[in-house]
């Protein structure tokens, strides 16, 4: 008898569109041409990941992106990451302030009570706070019960809303890892957008049991985590790829309608002394171009939703 059962050759989901009901198939090419507010064509969305990596965090069932490389207690790994929350973030504040960029701070909620100074500086600058789970040791995945996962989502939103005084409408699942229920729980908690799937360059409607969320395109292949952290490329290759992406998206935004360039930034990675100047140069070039502006995730969501595009 074959190890492959006859049922393997039934394809109940082989039909037009997706093989799930979270979102509809859509080709970017078919999105009608539009402009962002103020006649802008390309919005630069800077997302700053503020992450807490507990020293004894688990490495399974999902290996966290940027998780500990060595056995407990690895002060090397822990302090390298925490560097971002002390030194790196200050460099990012300076560079983003210089270019007038208000970022979305995608925060692990554990950081709010640990480092109140961070939240104070973020709020003072008018950055947007988005919820990014509790900490990097608590990833969302399908081996969690709904009750346990709901507690994580609730905790993240409640803590960040209380500490920031903001509505906190955005959600990013740490390490881009979701369970089958995460979007529903996030919608239950009153979020308006999420940014975990890496399948598009524009927002789209994302269906949940509590109504539609807007899905925003947070980059992964262009993130500092991926290029500098996982792929170990030198900073020149980061700058080169961001420049190349900008060129294509800017041209496309003028020819075919509004686009978003997502900068996914982690202070412990991009804000090392030998790397931060590259970001400074990139932002200088991006924002000097006609039709380019920066925006936060919530600003992009509200502009997009107002366009009424499917």
């Amino acid at each position: 008898m074959s190890l492959i059962p006859d049922s393997y050759f039934d394809y109940p989901l082989r039909k037009k569109g997706m093989d799930h009901d979270r979102y509809a198939a859509r080709y970017l090419r078919d999105v009608p041409a539009f402009q962002w507010q103020g006649g802008k064509t390309l919005l630069v969305w800077a997302t700053v990941h503020l992450e807490h990596f507990p020293m004894d965090m688990p490495a399974s069932p999902v290996k966290p992106i940027g998780g500990m490389d060595r056995p407990y207690p690895s002060v090397w790994d822990y302090s390298t990451r925490d560097y971002g929350n002390r030194v790196g973030i200050e460099r990012l504040f300076k560079v983003l302030d210089k270019h007038g960029v208000k970022a979305t701070a995608a925060m692990n909620s554990a950081l709010a009570p640990r480092y109140p100074y961070l939240m104070q500086e973020i709020v003072k600058r008018g950055w947007e706070v988005a919820a990014a789970g509790v900490d990097m040791g608590h990833l969302h995945h399908s081996q969690l019960t709904e009750e346990v996962e709901k507690a994580l989502v609730t905790e993240a939103f409640a803590t960040l809303r209380a500490a920031s005084g903001q509505a906190v409408t955005g959600w990013h699942s740490p390490s881009h890892s979701q369970s089958a229920l995460t979007p529903d729980l996030v919608a239950d908690a009153g979020a308006k957008y999420l940014c975990d799937w890496i399948n598009d360059d524009l927002p789209y409607a994302f269906h949940t049991r509590a109504g539609d969320l807007t899905h925003l395109p947070l980059s992964y292949d262009l993130s500092d985590h991926k290029i500098l952290g996982l792929q170990n490329m030198p900073i020149d290759d980061y700058e080169y790829q961001l420049d190349a992406a900008f060129d294509v998206l800017l041209d496309e935004s003028r020819l075919r309608g509004g686009r978003i360039l997502s900068l996914s930034l982690s202070p412990w990675i991009i804000a090392q002394p030998g790397r931060i100047d590259a970001l400074d140069r990139l932002l200088g070039r991006f924002l000097a171009a006609d039709g380019v502006a920066s925006a936060t995730g919530e600003e992009i969501r509200s502009q997009w939703d107002a366009l009424g595009i499917a």
């Binding site: 198939a25 080709y27 979701q178 292949d221 490329m233």
Partner: protein, 309 residues
């Protein structure tokens, strides 16, 4: 001593003194681009041999990375290819015909070839009986015919998950050429148990964006250099006997904004040479089969003494 298992799908052929391959119009290199247009299922049935996803399901990170190719990357990639008059030979998960018929329509408008890369990229041939593999081949033939009117001539096993007799089955089912063998820079006869002819056409992993960009983490600018130098060598050697160069692509990688320029510059470079035949996989296989299959088969015989059973 342990006797190793070996499928023996091809005979040995030194890369010296071969019969001279002449491509149409005196070209030195038959250049072809193979976009892999794929569908990875979010919740595929499990495989007994290989984990389908990297993370516990739903692996939304890896699923959505690939979904980008169909939503966004395909059109960008197709635009650049059309700009240089380069047709694609699509390594197609045939279920895409059902999920995304608009993509297939555009491939047909561009006069691209469609060949089979299985039904889904999350359905491997591992552990399948011969009849089950035949079922996949026949389904591929029917689906491609229905969606495009084209005959199914070529084959790349989904995720290169072939079994010991897959090449035999391909020949028996009337497939003309296979891409599963990475042993040569020229087309070659494939040794199968049937009398039907099967040609292997070079499909180059060295220039494939998945291993280059995803597995080896090579920077896009170095990927462009790999393609150019690969081409330069094959173009030089093609003066002696025609070579094949293939660039296998995946729209979810090459169609991203930070990588699209690689394709543009690579195609500009290749099409800037005059002795290049811009071909499809089917055309390369047919030209070889009609003109060189017999001479290569005869020429190879002395290099392949009978092996003890």
């Amino acid at each position: 001593m342990t006797q190793w298992r070996e499928p023996f799908a091809y005979d040995h052929a030194p890369y010296a003194g071969r019969p001279k391959i002449e491509w149409p119009n005196g070209a030195r290199v038959a250049f072809w681009v193979a976009p892999n247009i794929e569908f990875y299922e979010l919740a595929p049935p499990p495989s007994p041999t290989r984990a389908v996803w990297y993370r516990p399901e739903p692996d939304i990170l890896n699923y959505s990375m690939r979904d980008y190719g169909n939503r966004v990357g395909f059109d960008r990639m197709a635009d650049v290819m059309a700009k240089y008059g380069v047709r694609g030979s699509v390594s197609l998960n045939v279920a895409v015909c059902d999920h995304f018929p608009e993509i297939i329509e555009r491939c047909c408008e561009l006069e691209w070839e469609l060949f089979s890369h299985g039904v889904y990229n999350t359905r491997y041939l591992y552990n399948m009986t011969e009849d089950q593999q035949r079922e996949i081949i026949r389904q591929s033939r029917e689906t491609i015919k229905r969606a495009s009117g084209q005959d199914l001539d070529g084959w790349l096993s989904p995720a290169i998950s072939n079994g010991e007799t897959t090449q035999d089955l391909l020949a028996e089912e009337g497939i003309k050429y296979t891409l599963d063998l990475f042993h040569d820079d020229q087309p070659m006869p494939v040794k199968t148990r049937s009398k039907n002819r099967l040609v292997s056409v070079p499909y180059m992993m060295e220039c494939n964006d998945v291993p280059v960009l995803n597995f080896k983490n090579i920077s896009p600018k170095n990927y462009l250099e790999i393609i150019k130098t690969h081409f330069d060598r094959l173009y030089a050697e093609g003066e002696e006997s025609g070579t094949v160069m293939c660039v296998p692509l995946h729209p979810y990688l090459i169609g991203q904004p930070h990588r699209l320029h690689i394709l543009d510059e690579a195609l500009k470079y290749v099409t800037g040479h005059d002795k290049v035949w811009l071909a499809t996989g089917r055309e390369i296989a047919a030209h070889f089969e009609a003109n060189y299959y017999d001479s290569f088969t005869d020429w190879m015989k002395p290099f392949n003494p009978e092996q003890p059973a």
